[in-house]
């Protein structure tokens, strides 16, 4: 059994989806935790410093490469699996089994993932490229701010500016909603794919999965909302 055979088998492809999925879930925890500093009530000082740490320290930058790789694998494999799975039924049914046997979002991971990807492209364009790649593709000039004599990118101000546009706020909320449904199935499915078959753990993971897919996307969605309504 070569490694190629392992990872190109139907279960192997799912293992790639599961492993990268859990890695991306871990990333979401880091991301939502750091971003929550916007609510520190200090006009963005803690947030700008946190963003600076992520962008200017070697460990997060190395992890960032892994993160892009994880995203890339998850997205490409996801598209390929969705297309391959669809091709396995050349003639469809006249009457669909529909929601009688499974949840709609569990059958819509490809579409939900695509929506999350579209959101991600917009999101990277708003914040990642202006800060990391300087001058390229930015909508506003990225301002700087000085704390204790050191200069920082003022990403807090960037968020404030981006989220003055109600259309973008709505798109961010829809992006978070897509993520929520993607996670509602993906979280517990990833662990099943990795072989967790003990009923007690499966029940627990399903519960944690639903909690995670509500709390994390809700926290993310509250960020543009908080800026738009000038709560911070």
């Amino acid at each position: 059994m070569t490694w190629k055979q392992v990872f190109t088998s139907s279960i192997g492809k799912k293992l790639v989806m599961g492993f990268t999925g859990i890695f991306l879930i871990l990333f979401l925890i880091v991301h939502v935790g750091l971003n929550a500093t916007i609510w520190a009530n200090d006009d963005g000082e803690m947030f700008n410093k946190a963003a600076h740490f992520m962008g200017a320290t070697v460990v997060p930058r190395v992890l960032e490469v892994g993160l892009f790789l994880g995203f890339f694998l998850h997205i490409i494999q996801g598209f390929m699996l969705t297309a391959q799975n669809k091709s396995k039924r050349p003639v469809g049914y006249a009457v669909d089994y529909g929601n009688n046997g499974s949840k709609w979002y569990s059958r819509s991971m490809g579409i939900l993932g695509t929506l999350v990807l579209l959101f991600l492209i917009m999101h990277i364009y708003h914040f990642w490229t202006p800060s990391r790649l300087g001058g390229w593709f930015q909508i506003h000039e990225l301002t700087t701010v000085t704390y204790n004599g050191q200069e920082y990118h003022n990403l807090f101000n960037e968020m404030k500016m981006v989220f003055t546009n109600p259309l973008i706020v709505v798109l961010y909320i829809l992006g978070c909603l897509s993520l929520a449904y993607h996670l509602a199935h993906g979280f517990q499915s990833a662990f099943r794919t990795l072989g967790v078959h003990n009923k007690r753990y499966n029940n627990m993971l399903t519960g944690i999965g639903y909690g995670f897919s509500i709390i994390v996307p809700l926290a993310f969605a509250m960020m543009p909302v908080s800026f738009y309504f000038n709560w911070i």
Partner: protein, 254 residues
């Protein structure tokens, strides 16, 4: 429940053979007893067709007791019809009302090509079993049943998996036409027993390879298979199969 009679409209998939394109045809059956089985209702329809000089509808059936796994039929959007944990042959007409229109389709999957009308070729399942769904023992006298102690919960879980009759409803229900519930049942019932231990790794690797070769899709854990399975095979068998595969593929020597 009181006995009643009904008149029904049937929308049935007709297809001459594998190479020709099929289509739906409407039929009317009258005076059908609520105590008839679904297949008996089809027998009535076929007699009607034969008397009228038409080709009867081809469909698979054998034991008509819900244990052989030969009957198929995708009825009103669900394999084996509206009842839970039930095969088509054990579906009775009391599940329907007078005047109902019932849509009957064959299992749909590239790996289950239509032979004729509602009959599909499920020999892909046989080839998956041939790839490793057995234990190799020398024949001889029957061994004493208590010679190998087996924990009760494992014996029960193994038996629950062995309930699979290989009808293919899981494939028919799955949006990916995946055979993972079937395969996981076949792998699980041997993996849980000491008799299955010697070939444990090669079994799962060979059977998964055969499943992929037959053209079934990959599992996305939607649970549609479990919901439709006439023998209530648990979705957790698929997770067990994934674990068996992960361990076997990481530790295989060649």
């Amino acid at each position: 429940m009181e006995h009643y009679s009904m008149n029904l409209n049937l929308k049935v998939w007709r297809q001459k053979n594998n190479s020709e394109k099929g289509g739906f045809k409407m039929y009317r059956v009258e005076n059908i007893s609520s105590e008839m089985s679904f297949l008996e209702m089809f027998d009535v329809l076929n007699e009607q067709l034969v008397h009228g000089g038409e080709e009867p509808i081809a469909f698979d059936h054998d034991c008509r007791e819900g244990i052989c796994g030969t009957c198929s039929m995708y009825i009103n959007g669900k394999p084996h019809g509206p009842w839970q944990a039930n095969t088509t042959c054990q579906l009775h007409m009391r599940a329907f009302k007078d005047g109902d229109t019932i849509v009957v389709e064959p299992w749909r999957a590239g790996a289950f090509p239509v032979i004729k009308d509602l009959m599909v070729d499920r020999s892909a399942f046989d080839r998956i079993i041939q790839a490793g769904g057995y234990i190799s023992v020398n024949t001889g006298n029957a061994v004493d049943g208590n010679a190998i102690p087996i924990a009760k919960d494992k014996a029960d879980a193994s038996f629950a998996a062995a309930m699979c009759i290989g009808c293919g409803a899981c494939v028919a229900a799955c949006k990916n036409s995946s055979a993972m519930l079937f395969l996981s049942a076949k792998v699980s019932h041997l993996a849980l027993l000491p008799q299955g231990e010697p070939e444990r790794k090669s079994r799962v690797l060979d059977m998964v390879a055969q499943m992929d070769k037959e053209g079934f899709g990959a599992c996305t854990n939607t649970g549609a298979c479990e919901a439709t399975c006439p023998k209530e095979i648990s979705l957790s068998n698929i997770a067990r199969l994934n674990q068996e595969y992960l361990v076997a593929s990481l530790t295989a020597n060649k």
